[in-house]
């Protein structure tokens, strides 16, 4: 009972999920209320997943997507974090670049894909560029905000006790900015995942986006569900993992 209380939200969440799957299974596989072309039963999706695993059919596509995703996200972090921090510390630069950042941050960046296709042709470079552009702006915006949230009163307190500029950066600026850097990365990660799938819809002979389009065109509904579930799982695992890191590194932010 005490265990139940402590993990109440987990237990309730899992029960809800199980109930949902049960109703779904009942409606599709048992009662056949829905045409399987539209909605596959969970058991069918599971067995499709099994056969896809055995045939290793998905593996090259998983690798292709993972490569695009991780290379573009890594570069977005490497470029976005320092740029965001710099913009946050240098008001002149921020004011100079603000219109561009606001425009790119707000716009639906997938609209740029046709342009990238014209520039870079059909292939990895176009996908990479779209994913990078989608991931980098949330990172820049959050790092910029993070650098601005450094409390000058704390900087002053550190200085009274004898901290120099380097100490202030390491002991005050960096730890107070870190949570927002991680938030930026988490949001960039979600955007990058969207970018990969959308880009692969259009460009493609590989990747999970391509598999989705192809499965749809050939009416392989269970396969669509398998890929959708995989993407869902990847997004949940990655963002929960980053959230966990954020909580570990910045417990005071989650009082």
């Amino acid at each position: 009972m005490r265990l139940l209380k402590r993990h109440r939200s987990l237990v309730l969440g899992l029960s809800g999920l199980a109930g949902f799957l049960a109703v779904w299974e009942l409606a599709t596989a048992t009662l056949r209320l829905v045409d399987p072309l539209f909605l596959s039963a969970p058991s069918v999706i599971l067995s499709e997943f099994g056969s896809l695993l055995r045939s290793s059919e998905l593996n090259p596509h998983l690798w292709a997507s993972l490569k695009e995703f991780s290379v573009a996200l890594a570069l977005a972090i490497v470029a976005g974090v320092p740029l965001g921090l710099l913009l946050g510390r240098l008001t002149i630069l921020e004011e100079l670049l603000d219109p561009f950042i606001m425009a790119f941050y707000s716009m639906p960046k997938v609209a740029l894909l046709p342009l990238f296709l014209v520039w870079f042709g059909i292939g990895f470079t176009s996908i990479f560029t779209l994913v990078f552009v989608m991931a980098v702006f949330p990172i820049i915006i959050n790092c910029l905000a993070g650098a601005k949230t450094v409390n000058p009163a704390l900087v002053e307190a550190a200085r009274v006790f004898g901290a120099g500029e380097k100490d202030i950066f390491v002991l005050v600026v960096w730890p107070s900015t870190l949570p927002l850097i991680l938030t930026g990365i988490r949001l960039g990660l979600g955007a990058a995942l969207i970018g990969v799938v959308v880009a692969e819809f259009y460009i493609g002979n590989s990747g999970l986006g391509y598999v989705l389009v192809e499965a749809g065109a050939t009416f392989r509904t269970p396969k669509i569900f398998v890929v959708v579930t995989l993407l869902m799982a990847a997004a949940i695992v990655l963002s929960k993992w980053l959230e966990w890191i954020e909580r570990r590194l910045a417990p005071w932010k989650y009082r």
């Binding site: 009163a153 006790f161 004898g162 005071w252």
Partner: protein
């Protein structure tokens, strides 16, 4: 006794949007070693500016502050400060906050002293906690421990108890005095509470409203400890209190006109 701290002709002028504001004007006074100095004044009288100059955070527009005969253009290792808004580092544990100042000026990294202060300030058991998990009163205890941990010769306190409730304030005032009796540091204590200024100070400085100048300096010779009823309700205490009240009232009325 030779003065430990000398303010001579200290003035501070700020410029904001083309307008000049004089925060301090020709402030001159001295503080002897081991003296507990309390400074009261109407808000905006430059009390905090005065402390910032003393701390070496701010260079005065003119005049200078000398510590042990030397000018001090930057924060000095013999100084520590307790802030009104605590200013603990939220990402550090209580222990790390208390030990914060030991990283600088080549100070000895002594766990023992930090532990001793944690004990003396009733923070035992909270070493691994974070500031947000503590009440305001407890947070300010950490602020005091952090300041004392560097073994300062001069302790600056900027309205340290103003953000606390009346009861906590009284408890911390007493503890502060106990700690002070223990090692008699030179203290420069800013407050807007007249009672607090009388209870704690050897020397009480009343400031004038903007621009900040010294209005009066009073030596307080009431017997310590002063929170005893026979002191706190003595005619001398009450007289002093109403005298300072009148002085401050003049300033407030002046500003109103």
């Amino acid at each position: 006794m030779a003065p430990l701290l000398e303010f001579s002709g200290v003035s501070q002028v700020y410029e904001a949007g083309g307008e000049f504001t004089t925060a301090l004007e020709n402030v001159t006074f001295t503080i002897k070693p081991q003296q507990f100095v309390t400074i009261v004044g109407p808000s905006g009288c430059g009390k905090t500016t005065l402390l910032k100059i003393l701390a070496g955070l701010l260079a005065p527009s003119s005049g200078e502050v000398r510590y042990a005969g030397k000018a001090q253009p930057r924060p000095h290792p013999d100084f520590a400060m307790v802030f009104q808004d605590f200013r603990l580092f939220p990402w550090m544990t209580i222990l790390a906050n208390v030990e914060f100042g030991l990283r600088f000026h080549g100070r000895e990294r002594s766990h023992e002293r930090a532990q001793d202060l944690i004990k003396r300030l009733g923070l035992e058991g909270f070493e691994r906690h974070y500031p947000y998990e503590l009440s305001g009163g407890m947070q300010q205890r950490v602020g005091i421990a952090r300041a004392l941990c560097v073994e300062p010769k001069v302790l600056m306190m900027d309205e340290p108890f103003a953000a606390l409730d009346a009861q906590t304030r009284e408890i911390l005032q007493r503890e502060m005095l106990d700690l002070w009796e223990h090692d008699r540091k030179t203290v420069c204590f800013i407050t807007h509470s007249i009672d607090e200024a009388i209870l704690l100070g050897d020397l009480l400085i009343v400031m004038k409203a903007r621009p900040g100048r010294i209005k009066t300096m009073l030596d307080i010779t009431l017997p310590r400890p002063r929170w005893r009823r026979e002191v706190k309700e003595s005619p001398a205490f009450l007289e002093l209190r109403s005298h300072i009240w009148e002085l401050l009232e003049e300033e407030i009325n002046l500003r109103r006109r």
